[in-house]
Structures are given as structure tokens and as C-alpha cells.
Symmetry: C2
């Protein structure tokens, strides 16, 4: 081990929290993962602080800063989590709370923004100007790189592709809109769709795979079922891919990015989701930008959030 500076990257999601040490090139050191405690933000802060100190151990002098990517509407300037449906929080002064527990500079941003920065540094090696990273997890988020910089927009909200409208008269969303893309391709929503289909008589391998406990459905199980040829799992991925493709076709015509990087649980379905996305994109967006965009699934997968958060902290 050299004594090069490190940061601690934190990926704070509604289901789980991941921590890891990250060097300036985006190389990941030791990591740790645990479930997100429900409710009081202070419990989450305490848990992150304890795990962070354990992970940092004797390396405290090499730690330059802590970067946190959190699910939700973030104010990066003030370090406030304004609204996070997945965490169930509103106006939490997260940076202030964590600063009391950890003696390091703290950078807070949206989790998909962090992932986008991670993809830009580690996968694109900063060699293209414009990139969109789409996080396909419990929710659906996005982060935007424009001209080689993280683009945050007027209020730090930019990139919320999951809350672009797919069906104007569609399913009501907790954000106040209806028909949001996330309501059709989010992991929770796909699990709901499976349960709905089973209740209406559809048979599927998934019932057996979760031993009848449909609450235990995950994208991983859906992917395993689809790979075994399960018709329902395959159809749901096909539909989800088409719907994501409709949203991305709009984004390709509007943002015209060089790269689109997919990450998060649903992206682990690989070609099951990527093929219908690509087909729909070519069908629905202008030929020139559709042919120009490089669309692929991140190879950093689960680590992209930690990496990106850590890399943001290096730029602190």
C-alpha cells in the first residue's frame, strides 16, 4: 500500500448502504455493505459513521474527504436531502448531521449523479464530453455529464429521468405526477407486476423460486427465471426494455449524448433488457443521434455508486 490520498465513497439507497475506500483514479479498496435502517435519519448517520470509522481504521491521515451519493432530491450546496421518497425523508440536513460524527470534509450529491461521475471517470476515462448514466434500481435515477462536468441544473435536480412522463394518464406516482417512467420499470414496480400476473392466474417459475413468498421477489430472481425460459419474466423484461427505450429515445432527441450507461439491479438482466431498449431507441429517435450514441451496461455495476461518490470527494 502506498500512501496515496483516498476518499470514502458512500452509496446511500432506500434498501442498502454501501461504503468503500476510493483512490483518485477510481480504484476501489475495502468495502462494506448493510441494510438501510428505516425511519430516523440520525440512526442512519450513526451507522454510516461507525462503519466509516471501522473501514478507515489506521488510514485516517490518508482520507481526504467523504463523498455521499443519496437517493432523492438533494441540495448539494447546503448538503440537505430535500425529498427522498425511497428513504422516507424530507429536508434532512445530512451533511451537518454527519459532520458532527466524522472529522472530514463531506460532499453530498444525488446517487445517480455520483454514479454518472463514476462512469465518466472510470469507464469513459473522461474521453467523451456528454454522458447519461441511468440507475435502474428500486427507483430509476439519472446523472448527466455535459462537456466533461457533472451537470446539476438550476437546483441540483437535473437527471431525474425516472420522473419523466411515460403515460400522461398512467399510474399515480408519489412525486405528484402520474405515469412516471419509474412506475413501469422500477424494481419494486416490476415485482408488483409479477404479483399482479400471478394473482390473475399466470404461472411462472418465480413462484417456486421464492418458495411462494412473492414479497421476496428481486430483479435477480426475475433474471434467473427469464434465463431459464420463464415466459412471464421474459415478457416483463421485454416490456420494461421497450418502456425504458421510449424514455431514452426522447432523451436521445433532447440531450443527444455520446454515451448512455445503464447500471443498477435491473441492468444485471443484460441482453434481456438491453435488446428491447436498443431496438426501441433505433425505432423511435432520430437516426443520426440514435446511431451515434453508445449504449451499454456498466461493468462496475454495484460499485459504480461508491466509486462515483468517492471520486466526487476527490474533486472536493
Amino acid at each position: 500500500m502506498t500512501s496515496r490520498p483516498m476518499t470514502l465513497g458512500v452509496d446511500l439507497g432506500g434498501t442498502g448502504i454501501k461504503l468503500g475506500l476510493v483512490d483518485a483514479q477510481g480504484k476501489l479498496g475495502p468495502t462494506t455493505r448493510f441494510a438501510t435502517p428505516k425511519g430516523d435519519p440520525r440512526a442512519v448517520v450513526d451507522l454510516i459513521a461507525n462503519h466509516a470509522l471501522a473501514l478507515i481504521g489506521g488510514k485516517s491521515k490518508r482520507i481526504k474527504a467523504i463523498g455521499i451519493g443519496a437517493a432523492g432530491d438533494i441540495d448539494p450546496e447546503k448538503g440537505i436531502i430535500r425529498i427522498s421518497p425511497n428513504l422516507g425523508w424530507r429536508n434532512v440536513p445530512f451533511k451537518t448531521l454527519l459532520t458532527k460524527k466524522l472529522p472530514y470534509p463531506i460532499v453530498l450529491d444525488n446517487d445517480a449523479n455520483a454514479a454518472a461521475w463514476g462512469a465518466y471517470v472510470v469507464e469513459a476515462k473522461k474521453k467523451i464530453p456528454n454522458l447519461l448514466c441511468v440507475m435502474l434500481g428500486t427507483g430509476v435515477g439519472g446523472g448527466i455529464i455535459i462537456n466533461g462536468r457533472l451537470y446539476k441544473g438550476a437546483t441540483g435536480t437535473a437527471g431525474e429521468i425516472g420522473h419523466m412522463t411515460l403515460y400522461p394518464e398512467g399510474i399515480p406516482c408519489a412525486c405528484g405526477n402520474q405515469g412516471c417512467l419509474e412506475r413501469y420499470i422500477g424494481a419494486k414496480d416490476l415485482a408488483k407486476a409479477v404479483r399482479r400476473e400471478i394473482e390473475s392466474g399466470q404461472t411462472t417459475l418465480m413462484t417456486e423460486m421464492v418458495h411462494g413468498n412473492l414479497e421476496a421477489l428481486t430483479p435477480l430472481i426475475m433474471t434467473q427465471a427469464a434465463r431459464k425460459g420463464d415466459a412471464l419474466a421474459r415478457r416483463l423484461y421485454e416490456e420494461a426494455g421497450e418502456r425504458l427505450g421510449i424514455g431514452l429515445a426522447s432523451v436521445v432527441n433532447f440531450m443527444n449524448p455520446d454515451w448512455i450507461v445503464l447500471a443498477g439491479g435491473i441492468s444485471r438482466a443484460g441482453s434481456l433488457i438491453l435488446n428491447p431498449v436498443r431496438r426501441t431507441l433505433l425505432k423511435r429517435s432520430f437516426p443520426t443521434p440514435a446511431k451515434a450514441v453508445k449504449l451499454f451496461i456498466s461493468k462496475k455495476d454495484q460499485d459504480l455508486g461508491i466509486l462515483g461518490a468517492g471520486l466526487l470527494a476527490h474533486d472536493f
Copy 2:
């Protein structure tokens, strides 16, 4: 008249062409307007060249460059109009053709990009970082300013808000997609909707206003009818505003701009269109970016395209 440098701005649309002299601050000198000849691009080039020379007159030494904003998918680097449904052109080397007729450097860009630059320089005085300009004309285009620069994306296509999908199973569009926003709020499409309603028995002041010739319907007539209380015209503007609002709500969540500037024929309906847009935006996008965005109708209106094209040529 001082001898400050000027450019010639050209707004090349499917219906009409406008030319004007523009100074570096965006002050507009003499202008000229004429209908777009159909068919051969060379006829359009000749006509523009002749009008340009007439407008330039004795000021030829003060003319620095010519800027053209054209409707369609443009390659600004090569000066090619790749696809323009409104002009009916494909792969027209417009810059090369015009260079043969006019001895000035020529800058070609998308018309909505030019308008966005015009709005940014003249209306925003370059004081905000991120702006979206939406051109509501025969078609619906958009131009994006990011961090004070015109954002063109990977292939110069960025900003095509009119071809974001509003209804995934909606009206087929010439672009190959279906349910594009433009198919519901473009001037041609609104006129079609009026004709459909009249054919199915709806009475409206507009029939009389165009002396029974429904082909002569324009946004101006629809606006005049609405202001006289015509129920059909009011309802169609209300619906168009809601639909534009749905699209803009997606854009506000994705791009989180500081300003959204509306321009073009439909925008002259003023509050008839602006009120439903604003209401829908507040209902459907995240509260933070929705409250932050300044949404208004350009005061430069018909001149925004010329101004922007001329200003782009100043930066040549």
C-alpha cells in the same frame, strides 16, 4: 449609423424565410421576409443570396459573417441540412451552396438553437447559466444553453423537444416515432384538429373568420377567435398548453433549467397557452425545479430566429 461590425441573420423555416442585419449586442437593423419556395434547395439558396445582397447594399465591408438557423436536423460542422421534414430536404450541403453565392463566412445551425442563443444574449443578457428555448411554430423545436454555451450534443441534434414522445401509442410522426409532442401542439396539427372538430359538427367563429376556407387557418386566427370567447379555440389552446406542460414537466425534471423561453406562432396566444402550461408544470414536475424555473414568452417573438442566427455569426 456607426461603422460597428454587423452580421446577417437568416431564419430559414418551412413556411417563410426572414433576413435581418444584426449587431454584436443583438440590435436588429433592416429586415426582409418572404415565403419559402417549395422543392429545389438551389432555388432557396438563390433567393436568400439575392435578398441578402439587397439588404447588405453598401454595407458589405461591415458584414462579418452570415448566420443561418434552419428547421431540421443540422450538421453544424459540415454545414449540411441532414433531414428537414418541414423543408422536405435530405442531406443538402447548404453552406457549400450558399458560399458559392455570398462572399462571407457562413454559420449554419438549427433554427431553435439559433433562437435559444438569441434569447440567451438578448433576453437573459447572459446572466443565467442554463436556458431552454422552445419554438412553437409549424413544427416544435428547442435549443439548449448549458453553462452559458449553446449545447449541441454529440451530433448537433440536441434540443429536439418536439420529438420527445408524449403518447407512446399516439399519432404516427414523419420522424418514424409515434406520439411525438409536435403532433399535438404544432401549428399544422392544431389546424388539423380544428378541421376535424368542425367536420364532426362543432361550431366555431373560426369558420367565418377564414370565410369557410379551413386551409387558411393560422395560430393568429385561432388566437383571435379564443379572445372573442370561441369555445373550440379556447379548448384547443387549453389542451395544447396541458400537453406542452406535460413535455416541459419531463424536461424540468431532466434538465432543471433556470429559464424556459417560449417563442413562435403559437406562443403569441399569450396567457391562453401559458396558463395551462404553467399549471401542468407545477402539478407534474418536482416542486423544487418547478418553482425555480422562470417560464415566459419571448418579447422578441418573430425576430428571435434572425437575432440568434446573426449573433451566432458574430461568435464565428
